[in-house]
């Protein structure tokens, strides 16, 4: 499969009154055609900023992408002109946002909002666009879609609104869909429906997906590959099976331990990770997870570990082999 997206050493900072927030500190990943990448990590670890930086949607000021490249089909998104990147957004790479309540414009009809990418990128008239919009809304499971084009966002339930949002993001047949915590604001039962829907749509339309979540449980059945983020770094990345079977980084271990599992002992205590997420004001010289890590060594405090290959196509940024408890050579 051809490589669609290649992000290298992406670094994004926010200049705030108290100093500089190092939100993303040299993140690299790639995405192949049709592949689904899951990005997990606790709130504030830089997941949104990573993908928003790619599409240059970071509010600036205060934000700035200070280093790195993001190649989409060989062209660096970060070096494109404003006009060029605008034509990538919503047509080639599109986004679904977390909160379907606030992510729609309350004063425009659903029809107009979903039709907008078609009008912008494919030059369709509103009438042509509405036909396609109705089809798309059917596809994501909005009953009587045609009759609802002139409804406003507040006339839909949260789950329905997220379906509409998905329809809006897919209406131009993008090759990459970025879903930034698309289920976080929804009820658990509806979460499952949305995940199911995206799976179906992926099989039908074949787009690649970057699915961001702070919930390892949601993503297990969806992703091909996983990237775990912590404090603005990717600290572990691996094919999904390998990550769940052989979690390597102490933080990933912690995340998995805090997850209820059906396949093992059901009565096992759920653990939480002690301590607080890092403050991103200073770029750490030690491992950012060290203050919360139970495996912490002298080395961890002296040098921030890079991603090391710990298995076939499996990388983790940790000096310690968590299986043996010994430091990696």
């Amino acid at each position: 499969m051809a490589e669609l997206l290649k992000v290298q050493d992406l670094e994004t900072q926010f200049r705030v009154r108290e100093g500089i927030v190092h939100a993303v500190n040299g993140v690299s990943f790639s995405l192949k055609e049709g592949e689904t990448l899951g990005i997990v990590g606790e709130s504030g670890c830089g997941k949104s900023v990573t993908v928003m930086s790619m599409l240059r949607l970071i509010p600036s000021p205060p934000g700035k992408v200070v280093a790195g490249q993001a190649f989409y089909q060989g062209k660096d998104l970060l070096k494109m002109s404003d006009e060029e990147i605008r034509h990538v957004r919503g047509s080639q790479i599109s986004m679904v946002f977390q909160d379907p309540m606030t992510s729609f414009n309350p004063v425009l009809t659903i029809g107009r909002q979903v039709a907008e990418p078609l009008e912008i990128h494919q030059g369709m008239s509103r009438k042509q666009a509405y036909e396609r919009v109705a089809d798309m809304l059917e596809l994501v499971g909005i009953p009587k879609a045609k009759a609802r084009l002139n409804d406003y966002p507040h006339q839909f339930s949260g789950g329905m609104r997220q379906r509409v949002m998905i329809a809006m993001s897919l209406v131009c047949n993008p090759s990459v869909l970025i879903a930034d915590e698309p289920t976080t604001a929804l009820d658990v039962t509806i979460q499952a429906q949305i995940v199911e829907l995206v799976k179906e749509l992926r099989d039908k339309l074949g787009m690649a997906i970057i699915w961001i979540t702070h919930d390892l449980g949601v993503i297990a059945g969806l992703a091909d590959r996983m990237a775990v983020m912590y404090g603005g770094y990717i600290i572990e990345t691996a094919p999904v099976k390998s990550l769940y079977a052989n979690p390597t980084h102490p933080y990933t271990l912690g995340l998995l331990n805090s997850l209820p599992r059906l396949d093992t002992d059901q009565y096992r205590r759920l653990e939480s990770i002690d301590g607080l997420p890092p403050i991103l004001m200073d770029k750490p010289t030690s491992c950012p997870f060290a203050p919360r890590c139970t495996f912490v060594r002298e080395h961890c405090l002296q040098e921030n570990p890079p991603l090391l290959e710990t298995g076939p196509d499996h990388y983790a940024a940790c000096w310690v082999d968590t299986k043996t408890g010994r430091e990696r050579a």
Binding site: L57, P59, R89, S103, F104, L108, E116, H121, M168
Partner: protein
């Protein structure tokens, strides 16, 4: 929506009644009467005058008499008599000898030959025109200034617009007016210093029939002088509101769809940012239309302001009652229009 409007109009009747009651009560509660002059009139003459205007009757009678004359349509065998006792705002001819007359606001104590309705027909439209012009000025200056300073936040444009806005709120008409007259009328001689360029008959009883330069050469300065303060308020509100709106999630969504930056503002941000602006339009219209006194005085405009103010110092009861009731109607109608506009801007608002 229809039901809502009807409900609000019924509610207006209640408001008017309450306002009439309170005004009537207050006006008679304050010491002094209409015929107290520095040189006291002979008691006989005062008696006669009081009798003529029914001021010798018990207050309740006077109040009911007033309500009857103003609110209850009267049947009459003759049309327009020219009699000051018998001047109604609405005169409907059924046959030559059968007329329905409604809203007789009574005579004014200050003139033997004029009625409150004369003031409504001749002076009030001028004040309403001035107030609405000022509102227009406030909107066409305030909204663009607000938008510019929001979009160019913390640049020279922002500071410039907001300086104009601060100038607008802090310089009162009584300073600005004479300054404008001195610059544009006396020095540059672009426009006349005083007067008003529209006469009755007015379209719909209010609006000038000719909106040419003859009208605007006199209307421009006072409208700007009166509207500038409000334009400043609107500019600041628009700026704050737009700055808030462009941080909303749906603006990010629009950008993520590839919407052009100019369209992000025009299509996605403006309508939302106008919602708080519309909210203050109701009180603002009321303030502008009823607050024309100083402007009229400064620019020598024969409007309502003088009558409104002097009627109170002179205890000219029918003029006090009439103007206050009319302003009350105006307020309720203005707020109703604002609510309708509100529903038009924001589909989440439904009145039913």
């Amino acid at each position: 929506m229809g039901r809502f409007i009807i409900r609000r109009l019924l509610y207006m009747v209640v408001v008017i009644l309450v306002v009439s009651f309170i005004t009537f009560g207050l006006m008679h509660a304050v010491p002094g009467g209409p015929f107290d002059a520095e040189k006291a009139l002979p008691p006989d003459i005062i008696k006669n005058l009081e009798k003529r205007y029914h001021l010798d009757e018990p207050l309740v009678m006077q109040y009911l008499r007033y309500l009857n004359a103003v609110f209850i349509p009267q049947f009459s065998s003759e049309g327009l008599t020219g009699d000051v006792e018998d001047d109604s705002l609405v005169n409907i001819k059924i046959t030559d000898t059968f007329w329905i007359k409604w809203m007789n606001f009574g005579p004014t104590f200050s003139s033997r030959s004029r009625t409150v309705n004369d003031i409504f027909r001749q002076q009030l439209p001028i004040s309403v025109q001035l107030g609405l012009n000022a509102l227009f000025v406030a909107l066409i200056l305030g909204i663009p200034l607000g938008i510019i300073s929001a979009l160019k936040q913390n640049t020279i444009f922002d500071y410039l617009s907001m300086s104009i806005a601060i100038f607008g709120v802090s310089v009162p008409v009584i300073v600005l007016g004479p300054l404008m007259i001195w610059i544009f009328a006396v020095t540059l001689k672009w426009v006349p210093a005083t007067g008003w360029g529209a006469q009755p008959p007015y379209v719909l009883g209010v609006f000038p029939s000719d909106l040419g330069w003859k009208y605007w050469e006199k209307a421009l300065m006072p409208s700007i002088a009166l509207g500038l303060g409000s334009s400043a308020i609107i500019a600041r509100l628009t700026r704050a509101s737009l700055l808030q709106v462009i941080r909303e999630d749906y603006i990010r969504t629009a950008r993520a769809k590839g919407v052009k930056e100019s369209m992000v503002i025009v299509r996605h941000a403006l309508k939302n940012s106008m919602i708080p602006v519309v909210t203050i339009l109701g009180p603002m219209i009321a303030a502008l239309v009823t607050g024309t006194f100083v402007t009229e005085l400064t620019f020598g405009i024969p409007g309502m302001g003088k009558y409104f103010v002097t009627s109170i110092t002179n205890r000219d009861y029918p003029v006090i009652m009439g103007t206050i009731l009319l302003y009350a109607v105006f307020l309720v109608v203005a707020n109703l229009l604002v609510d309708i506009m509100y529903a038009f801007l924001d589909p989440r608002i439904r009145y039913d």
